[in-house]
Symmetry: C2
Subunit: 406 residues, 2 copies
């Protein structure tokens, strides 16, 4: 499209000066910012956790889809990067990631063609995806063997009422038996996502699923040559996954892989709650020192104060997740200066496509042109609203523009 | 970022062959498609409606942020394109749009710098934005007069408990008086968005607001040189806006401008309901012939059928709006052939980041690899999940890749 050739500014939170500072209004607001120190802390903390447990870390890349972050995670010691689609796998490989765990089924001719192309282009990259049906296994084998390629796969184990995955050990074993006769496939292990278990107190169910998986892995061992990959764990139950799988009987040459994603920027919402619970129950995490901290913030400007107890800021559903709590103010600046009034006197109560509505409680004094910094909840759906996020230092100087690839 | 230079495929619904057909699996699924005939119908229908009413049309561009669509709307006769931010204004201008109505406040030094740059670069473009406070008016005037520029503005009228906008005629008149003494601003008219009025039966409130606005416009007339712009109307109340404003006393040289946005692709959810109600009450729309039709669809593939009454497809919150009803199946294909079983036997019941959960009712027979076509609700939040949407004909041949600019 011709419009991009003459684009004046490359993305919506464009820098309008060099050495841009956000509080100095050098950046088109709203902007999504990542605090560098907090990001580095989180990358290091989760890697240290995996190292302390003796498991491998495959951060789920779908959260950020940000090549620069993939690179930081890999450099810090991540064994792989997790992705959810062939497109996401292509971005991970183009970013230099050396092992890509597509924790999803690969379906459709075009998606298979893309993976075949990637396997040719990046022969040093270890790419794996998941299979949960004989139908899919046969289609994949036919396609990849016709390309003279072999696809590395994990069998997915699921739960009744959940998402994908074989529902029983019998199904999984029958599938492994089929796969062993298919020339285009090579079985490498077993995958699950315990995060589909919800409810009042899902921990017993999570533990039972993990025990079942370890027992199943022992039965699948004979179908796998070399190392057996056993992988699970989002950002909520990664300690429990380690507890159960490290103690369980499992294949002799077994690599346990955890795949948290949202830890990367953490939040001050649903993942903060989950991590607080984890810290309360897990001695390893407690003894590690430090903790995950919120690294992703939205910075927006007050554009209207139309009523005494009501202000409107210039971010909306086009800029932020809103499915797990609204972004809430954590700091308030006027002409570059931090105001002393507590951010808690301002509450985000509503959101539209391009606006958010704030309730001003007693003590809140807000003016048009004030800058508010908001914490977020559920980072995934904030990242995908931005072509670029801004990496900043503690003074909100912009250090780097981080392009995303959604 | 280096990763883009060697990008293998440019966006997530990449075409893997020339002369790509979606049902032939030539495109990485999921994909967001726009049916060309439906899109053209909608562009023409709304333009004919505005023409029949003798009002000007300024389609809200924030819905699509798709330059090619902006161009089609302008070519069909749109008087302007509406936008919600300085960034969006830049995209409209770079796309060749000749009048940009930023129906929002312009705040922050960087956003003002961007607009100043646009005004220099695109001197033939008529750019307007909204003001609802003396504070904002003074800041804007100081900035733009320092650039030897003059900013064209509309006063925004709001409602108590609503979004931006002056809450009373007195406030608006006092603001107009201030503006008349500010060298960097030129008042051009009055703006409102009646869509903030919700509730059981908002029509009487909407009508009262519109009458108040017309009366206020008469009082503001003396502050405006030449044509007076009076603008409102999203995709729900555009008939009522015409009814009230065309009959009301208003400034002698008054241009009424309606700004629907979501009509462009329409949907089979909240906007279908709104349009059905409009057709039932508005003779002009009824007599016009034809109607808006749903033009935006999601095409996804079944990746797992783990239970008899449950299937999983490969789109999720990363691909679709979910704030106004989930996408629902409208067609079911297997190996390129339309199946006869009614799409109503399949219901989307849940959505995660990369997956949607389908309930299979009696009569539904679904296999891994089947293609399902989904209608959508609330187009805005589906568009912004895609770097590119695919323009298709009735046989789902891809005619054009439409880049978005979010």
């Amino acid at each position: 499209m011709k419009y991009q050739e003459s684009n004046l500014v490359p993305h919506k939170s464009a820098l309008m000066s060099t050495a841009a500072n956000i509080l100095n209004e050098d950046v088109c607001l709203p902007a999504a910012v990542i605090k560098k120190a907090a990001l580095e802390n989180n990358i290091q903390w989760m890697q240290r956790y995996a190292d302390a447990r003796g498991v491998s870390l495959a951060p789920h890349g779908k959260t950020t889809m940000t090549p620069w972050i993939f690179q930081q995670q890999q450099q810090a010691g991540a064994w792989a990067v997790g992705v959810g689609s062939a497109w996401q796998a292509s971005i991970a490989m183009v970013s230099g990631v050396k092992r890509v765990l597509m924790v999803n089924q690969l379906v459709g001719k075009a998606n298979m063609q893309l993976v075949a192309k990637l396997k040719n282009e990046y022969q040093d990259v270890d790419y794996l995806c998941c299979v949960d049906s004989v139908a899919n296994a046969k289609t994949l084998s036919a396609f990849f063997s016709a390309q003279n390629q072999r696809l590395d796969i994990l069998i997915e184990l699921g739960v009744p009422g959940g998402r994908c995955g074989c529902r029983t050990a019998e199904q999984a074993l029958a599938l492994a038996e089929e796969i062993s006769g298919l020339p285009g496939l090579r079985l490498r292990g077993l995958e699950l996502y315990e995060g589909v278990l919800h409810g009042e107190n899902p921990q017993p169910e999570v533990e039972a699923l993990l025990r079942d998986a370890a027992a199943l892995a022992c039965q699948l061992e004979r179908y796998v040559e070399g190392e057996f990959i056993l992988t699970g764990a989002g950002s909520v139950w990664y300690d429990v996954v380690c507890n159960i799988w490290l103690e369980a009987n499992k294949p002799a040459n077994c690599r346990v892989v955890i795949r948290p994603g949202c830890y990367i920027t953490h939040d001050k919402g649903i993942y903060q709650e989950a991590q607080d619970e984890l810290m309360a129950r897990d001695k390893v995490a407690c003894d590690l020192g430090g903790d995950l901290v919120s690294a992703l913030e939205l910075v927006a400007m007050v554009q209207s104060v139309p009523e005494n107890d009501r202000a409107i800021v210039n971010f909306g559903k086009r800029d932020s997740a809103f499915d797990a709590g609204l972004p809430q103010p954590v700091a308030h600046y006027r002409q570059g200066k931090l105001l002393k009034q507590p951010a808690e006197t301002i509450e985000t109560t509503g959101i539209m496509d391009q606006h958010a509505m704030l309730k001003l409680k007693p003590g809140a004094e807000v003016q048009v042109g004030d800058i508010l910094v908001f914490s977020t909840s559920h980072p995934c759906l904030t990242f995908d609203k931005w072509k670029a996020l801004l990496l900043v230092d503690e003074e909100y100087n912009v250090l780097e523009t981080l392009e995303t690839a959604f």
